[in-house]
């Protein structure tokens, strides 16, 4: 596999991790997932209704995509730890996208509860992928706690505001010993490309695709953007200059 994404003991050829939330129906979701080329995608855990599940797991199984359960909706470390343990039981995976949300208006991570939950879950044998603030100090603390990756936000969940503090993302990347996954806030393809240009190992996005007017087309765009950004990062961009520098010979 050329230039794989390596997280914990797994390798993926795609650096685009998707979410399944926000899609109008499963057939739209399926086409978008195929177009994205993703190999890892998030699901949430909710109460079973008597009519049965939504069939999202069946779609992922058919497409050969690994499910990544999240702890969306949890506001405390205790809730998130219980949800992660239930997800492990339901899905048979010890991987978890750890989310501990401070409030429902911003959906920003609660750093204190997040670090607490991460430490508990690592101790319990989980591969923990925490959704975190774009805070370089917290990212290091999560890594020290044993997280297999850190996933800073570009901007709040679902806003599509892109990467509001690119310098912080670069600081996180510069010091991280685990993969950095840009998670949340991606609005369009250039945001995903920028994340990769800043040195992120992967991009995680959901609604930028699922709520686009044409999810399948946007998934195709995101796939190309992640590849382009990765290539540009490794190609070594030219320095930015204040004054022009001619590229044609002087005479």
């Amino acid at each position: 596999m050329d230039d794989p994404l390596v997280i914990a003991d797994r390798e993926y050829s795609s650096r685009l991790i998707t979410g399944t939330g926000g899609a109008a129906n499963l057939s739209v979701l399926e086409r978008a997932l195929v177009a994205s080329g993703t190999e890892l995608t998030t699901v949430s855990l909710r109460r079973v209704d008597t009519a049965g599940g939504t069939g999202v797991l069946e779609v992922l199984r058919r497409l050969g995509i690994d499910p990544l359960p999240n702890t969306a909706g949890c506001h405390t470390a205790a809730e998130a730890v219980l949800t992660a343990r239930l997800a492990r039981e339901a899905l048979g995976t010890n991987w978890v996208k750890l989310e501990v949300i401070a409030d429902d208006r911003t959906l920003l991570p609660d750093p204190v509860e997040l670090l607490d939950a991460a430490a508990t879950l690592v101790e319990d044998g989980f591969v923990v992928l925490p959704y975190t603030n774009d805070d370089p100090v917290l990212a290091l603390r999560l890594e020290e706690a044993g997280c297999a990756a850190v996933m800073p936000l570009g901007s709040p969940i679902g806003t599509g505001l892109g990467i509001r503090n690119p310098h912080n993302i670069e600081l996180i990347v510069a010091r991280a010993g685990v993969p950095v996954v840009l998670d949340a806030g991606i609005g369009t393809a250039s945001d995903a490309a920028l994340a990769m240009e800043l040195g992120c190992a992967a991009v995680l996005l959901a609604t930028a695709v699922t709520r686009a007017a044409d999810p399948e087309k946007m998934a195709t765009a995101m796939r190309a953007a992640v590849v382009a950004g990765r290539l540009a990062r490794s190609a070594g961009r030219i320095p930015q200059r204040f004054w022009a520098q001619a590229s044609s010979p002087p005479r």
Binding site: G21, V43, S44, V48, T50, G53, A72, A90, E99, A206
Partner: protein
């Protein structure tokens, strides 16, 4: 006896196990996870774990999200 399943009151046989409650309520046995009074009950223990009067059972599965 009365228990609470996913936030709704349910009448189940006295001394029922987790497995019997799932079967009685026609809940799927695969792809789900069960918490009994806030603690995960591993699948292998469903058949051997009794549910007490007034117990709170949460039965969860994966849905679209994130």
């Amino acid at each position: 006896m009365k228990i609470d399943v996913n936030g709704a009151p349910r009448e189940v046989a006295d001394g029922a196990t987790v497995a019997e409650v799932l079967a009685a309520l026609r809940l799927p046995a695969a792809g789900i996870a069960v918490a009994l009074d806030g603690e995960v009950v591993p699948r292998a223990e469903h058949a051997a774990t009794p549910v007490a009067e007034g117990a709170v059972l949460e039965v969860l599965t994966a849905v679209q999200g994130g």
